[in-house]
């Protein structure tokens, strides 16, 4: 436990010394937020409130990117080897990455709330407890996904390619950039297989519809289960040495992380109401709905 705390402290300290981090974790989300709030929402508090969930989700999800890169770099440079001759365990190393990441997200999250309040005059933030729980579970689960990416790739290049491949559907097909109601019917159906959708829609409902935590059971439970699964998998696949390559069966195990959301997606497609809820939230906005009607109705 002491080793884990010491490593977490080191990771936070090192990340704060990294200028790239400051750019990606602070400037990027704010730029996004101003884009949404200024252009899409035209500064209307109710519409800004609608977009706050997706922007928070982007911040939370984006964390897997830097985390996987940092871990691969640590391995490639032989930094992990040095820790390997000490009593530090793989779980210490991995858990400290996740927790450091979580701690580093919180100021950005807080700042987004403060901006909404001071600049865009949003006065109601829905159910804050629901938001907090979803942000926490989301941060942990997407960080763990980053750990798995780091474990199954051998070089930094590979890591970045996989990150790109994961990132694009996560942000475009989950409602994080374009509202879910805005997407074609097929894309909506597909989105239900993505963990990101549950985070984005959950946060949007918490903030915009003031959904209490018990109404977000599916979102919370699926993300929490996924977090446990991916973290466990990352401890199994963890490699200290750069020259040890990924065994092929490990790549199959990774496919297993997709299974929970595959099943959930099937269920939600048949019985769920996530697209309907997204549609009604979207319809309740008067602003952008008038100027840009959804191209396809989910019903």
């Amino acid at each position: 436990m002491r080793n884990f705390a010491a490593l977490t402290h080191m990771r936070i300290q090192l990340t704060l010394r990294n200028k790239m981090f400051v750019f990606f974790s602070l400037i990027m989300p704010f730029a996004f937020f101003f884009l949404y709030a200024g252009i899409f929402a035209k500064g209307q508090p109710q519409v800004v409130r609608f977009f706050l969930g997706p922007v928070l989700a982007l911040t939370v999800m984006g964390s897997f990117w830097g985390l996987s890169a940092a871990l691969v770099m640590f391995r490639e440079q032989g930094i992990l080897r040095r820790f390997h001759v000490t009593p530090v365990t793989a779980s210490d190393m991995l858990a400290s990455s996740v927790v450091a990441n979580y701690v580093l997200i919180l100021p950005t999250v807080l700042f987004l709330f403060v901006l909404s309040r001071t600049i865009f005059h949003v006065t109601h933030f829905g159910d804050l407890l629901s938001s907090f729980i979803l942000i926490s579970i989301g941060a942990i689960s997407f960080s763990s996904m980053g750990l798995v990416v780091a474990s199954v790739t051998n070089t930094m290049q590979e890591t970045q390619v996989i990150n790109q491949l994961l990132w694009l559907p996560l942000i475009f097909l989950s409602g994080a950039t374009f509202p879910l109601a805005f997407l074609p019917h097929v894309a909506q159906r597909f989105s239900l297989f993505l963990p990101a959708t549950y985070l984005v829609q959950g946060l949007q409902r918490a903030i915009f519809d003031s959904a209490p935590i018990w109404q977000l059971g599916v979102e919370v439970a699926s993300l929490a289960f996924w977090a446990v699964l991916t973290f466990f998998l990352s401890t199994q696949l963890f490699r200290w040495e750069p020259e040890v390559k990924v065994p092929r069966k490990a790549k199959l195990l990774v496919v297993a992380t997709a299974i929970p959301f595959l099943l959930l997606g099937l269920w939600e497609n048949k019985y769920g109401n996530i697209p309907a809820l997204a549609q009604s939230a979207y319809d309740s906005l008067n602003g952008p709905a008038k100027s840009a009607p959804p191209p396809d109705s989910p019903k």
Binding site: M10, R81, T86
Partner: protein, 306 residues
């Protein structure tokens, strides 16, 4: 029986089809500085990394401080200190932070301040790792190996890639540790390093120990003869010198006589007596003992260079 801190028996390590270590055996006593000397790719690093618990072995057995590095890896890690090959620290980590962080991992620890002073890094305490010179990085690596006041130290190629002046600095540090009666295992491909620092040396080649002993023993055991070069005031007949005690070979080279002797003290006495009897005189005398490098060449048929 001697108190063995390290024991290696018939160690074998394979990487795919390549046998990197092929039946290595040796033991290291408490307080001893033991060297694994051999060219790159001889299996030295694999051997050390198995002892450190970083790699698994394929067959044979090893014990470190009475522990099995695989089964008791957690307990073992509290007892060992290591300066690894091809390792690094995060670029933005400061010297003092690194020492504090690593000291924090252990139950038994040394004062990081004292280590900083001892390794001459006081002025660099707030410098980030990426801005240290090669020598400073290596001094930090050695300081970090000591944070837990370990029973046994592993230095894998501690001076590889350093310039000669820095290398001598590192030797001084290791010699100091030797006076403190630390048990140290060093791997190296520098003869000078093995000769200067090690109590005993195992010459390793192609994954096998080809010879093992003190540097002195290795040199005498090798059958290597001592080279005695003399200049005389009057020419002497070749035959007469060849028949002197202990002489293996004697010949004239550029006006001097080069004599190879198996027992140099007896030979020198014999030369002096012979010259006295002949009314001849010694003008100069030069003795060179066989180097560990000669021994290495003889054992492996190759020169030891990177």
């Amino acid at each position: 029986m001697a108190n063995f801190v390290l024991q290696v028996e018939n160690l074998v390590k394979r990487y795919g089809n390549v046998e990197a270590v092929r039946g290595v055996s040796f033991s290291v006593e408490e307080g001893e500085v033991f060297g694994l000397l051999g060219p790159n790719g001889a299996g030295k690093t694999s051997t050390v990394e198995i002892l450190e618990g970083l790699r698994t072995l394929d067959s044979g057995s090893v014990s470190v401080c009475g522990l099995d590095p695989q089964r008791n890896s957690q307990a073992l890690k509290h007892e060992i200190g290591a300066a690894l090959q091809s390792t690094s620290l995060p670029d933005k980590l400061r010297v003092m932070e690194a020492l504090r962080l690593f000291a924090g991992f252990y139950k038994r620890r040394r004062n990081p301040e004292e280590l900083l002073k001892r390794f001459g890094l006081e002025e660099k305490r707030n410098t980030v790792y990426s801005q240290l010179s090669g020598g400073q990085k290596q001094r930090l690596a050695l300081a970090m190996a000591l944070v837990n006041d370990p029973k046994v130290l592993f230095f894998d190629e501690p001076t590889a890639g350093l310039d000669p002046q820095v290398r001598r600095e590192i030797y001084d540090i290791i010699e100091e540790l030797k006076h403190e009666k630390k048990t140290i295992l060093i791997t190296t491909h520098y003869i000078e390093e093995a000769e200067r620092l090690c109590d005993r040396v195992a010459i390793v080649d192609h994954g096998k120990v080809v010879s093992l002993g003190t540097p002195r023993e290795l040199k005498t055991r090798s059958g290597g003869t001592t080279r005695i070069e003399v200049r005389l005031s009057k020419p002497a007949s070749d035959g007469a010198l060849k028949n002197l005690e202990g002489v293996a070979d004697a010949r004239e080279v550029d006006g001097a006589y080069v004599i190879h002797s198996r027992r140099p003290p007896q030979t020198i006495v014999a030369i002096v007596k012979h010259l006295e009897a002949e009314g001849n005189e010694l003008v100069s005398l030069e003795i060179s003992s066989p180097s560990l490098e000669d021994v290495f060449i003889e054992m492996t048929g190759r020169r030891l260079r990177d």
